[in-house]
Amino acid sequence: MIASNEVIGLIFSTTVLVFYLWNRRRLRELPAFGILLAAFLSLLVGLVLTLLESLFWQETLNLLEHVGYAVSALLLTLWCWLVFGKRRSPS
């Protein structure tokens, strides 16, 4: 069964994605923006799969959903390492 909060969460996330893509030129000034965007896309994939698993291939899609979250977390960690892990002058 599809949960309403999951649908709303997906709509919110899609809106945020549109915002990211719309402002991608300015957001490129953010250090390693590509990795951050990839992390967000992975999170979005996880959210989409959350919805889809209610419809079919529950176990497989559930696994993939969690893989999406994990990839998102790993990319976010990489981004944090690149941005905060190295010594640099504050931007």
Partner: protein
């Protein structure tokens, strides 16, 4: 444990590391607002992952009721991080742009003033303050008219200009005289724009002031040079004409004098002899004028040689000193011993000096018929213009020359003396001699106060022979 549980644990640990990196490198990147939002985002993700892990570990998730809210909040925190970053970048760029504009305004080559409708300076840039020798805070709040020189081209012209400006006339590149804090007048070019309110009334004026003192000086020097050139050309053409006329007069004059002498020698009547003497005397006088004219016009063949101005002055005073002494005129000579020599024809410079001293004597005798302690002629010499010239000055405190006649003193036959006292070509000849030496002769005078003739001669650059 199921694979999903392992994946969730990976997610949890990964996010924990990300949060640690953020905390450890807190000040290394991004602005504080964005960092706080990022921390919030990581906290929600951690919460989400922690909640998932509890479920797969078989622990009843006590956090489930909150997870729905977390799921809704999480995307907005991603949005907030990006939005905050963009805002911060926007503000930083605005600040940078403002600093650049401020730098451009402050260190512009022109001085800028914003003046209220009441004529009080509201703002000005650093250049304005530096240019006028004030500090910025000394200029702010001051009436703008205070900055103009107390001259017809200063305050008076500015007042008239501002009146026209308030009547709607534009002010573009108007040249006015301002004055610096120490009172030094400076020439400026002024351009003013009006700032108007909705009713069209001027509420502020924005002025751009450019220092044109150097340009004005260059223009004045150019004008002086042009005047000098015109004078030289005029003298040259008159010289040619005079030489022709003098040449034509020379032979008939000789005849007149000869005939005069014949009459004087052959006539017995004493009165007739007196008349003949008169003819000879006036003829000699005319012949002298003719010789002077020819001397002025001819190219001299005498060679230039190094000479000491002190020697020239001494020789001249040996000729004219007695006459000056008789008229109770004191001569003061101030010539430093180490003065460079000049390359000249000594006789000609002596002739010039003789002319100048004779003129000084006449001027002093008119002003002081008897003895006076101010009945003095001063002869001074000095090295000028970084040693390129030797400058000799002959100054008297006689009657002076009226300002309107100053431009004509070198004109041939121009004289203010009685007919029997001067022919009006002494200074013309002197000017020609100095010009031929590559020098210059300048006159300065204030009627009733002084007359100063300044003679510049080039320094002898040849090595001194043993």
């Amino acid at each position: 444990m199921k694979p999903v549980g392992v994946i969730d644990l990976v997610t949890l640990f990964s996010l924990a590391i990300a949060a640690s990196l953020l905390i450890l490198g807190w000040r290394r990147a991004l602005d504080s607002d964005t960092r706080i939002l990022l921390a919030g985002m990581l906290f929600l993700s951690l919460f989400h992952a922690f909640s998932n892990s509890l479920e797969w570990l078989g622990i009843t998730a006590a956090l489930d009721p909150f997870e729905d809210y977390v799921q809704l909040l999480e995307p907005w925190l991603w949005f907030a991080v990006a939005y905050s970053f963009l805002q911060h970048r926007g503000r930083a760029k605005l600040r940078e742009s403002r600093e650049q504009l401020l730098d451009l305004y402050e260190s512009a080559p022109a001085a800028y003033f914003s003046v209220g409708a009441d004529g009080i300076i509201r703002r000005c840039n650093l250049r304005a303050a530096e240019f006028l020798g004030y500090r910025v805070e000394q200029l702010t709040g001051r009436p703008v008219t205070d900055l103009y020189a107390d001259t017809p081209d200063g305050k008076a012209a500015a007042a008239s200009l501002f009146k026209r400006f308030h009547a709607g006339e534009p002010i573009v590149d108007q040249e006015l005289q301002m004055q610096q804090a120490d009172g030094t007048p400076v020439w400026t070019s002024l351009t003013v724009n009006a700032v108007r309110n909705e009713d069209g009334d001027i509420v502020e004026s924005r002025s751009m002031v450019v220092d044109i003192t150097a340009r004005r000086q260059a223009e004045q020097e150019k004008q002086a040079m042009e005047m000098h050139l015109r004078q030289s050309q005029k003298l040259e053409s008159i010289g040619t004409l005079a030489s022709g006329v003098a040449h034509e007069l020379s032979n008939p004059l000789t005849s007149v004098i000869n005939y005069g002498q014949l009459i004087r020698d052959r006539v017995g009547d004493a009165k007739m002899r007196d008349y003949a003497d008169g003819i000879i005397e006036e003829g000699d006088r005319m012949a002298k004028i003719v010789r002077n004219l020819l001397s002025f016009a001819w190219q001299e063949t005498e060679r230039h040689s190094p000479a000491d101005l002190r020697d020239i002055v001494d020789e001249t005073l040996s000729l004219i000193g007695a006459v000056l002494e008789k008229d109770q005129i004191r001569v003061e000579v101030d010539i430093p011993s180490g003065l460079p020599r000049t390359r000249c024809r000594s006789q000609e410079i002596q002739q010039v000096l003789m002319n100048l001293l004779t003129n000084a004597r006449d001027a002093l005798n008119i002003r002081y018929p008897e003895y006076d302690e101010d009945k003095v002629v001063r002869i001074t010499a000095e090295s000028a213009e970084h040693g390129a010239w030797v400058r000799m000055t002959v100054e008297d405190r006689g009657i002076g020359i009226p300002t309107e006649l100053l431009g004509r003193v070198f004109d041939p036959f121009f004289t203010t003396k009685r007919r029997d006292r001067g022919t009006g070509i002494g200074l013309t000849i002197s000017h020609g001699i100095i010009r031929d030496h590559g020098g210059r002769l300048v006159v300065e005078s204030e009627p009733g106060v002084f007359t100063r003739l300044i003679m510049d001669l080039p320094v002898d650059a040849s090595p001194i022979s043993a």
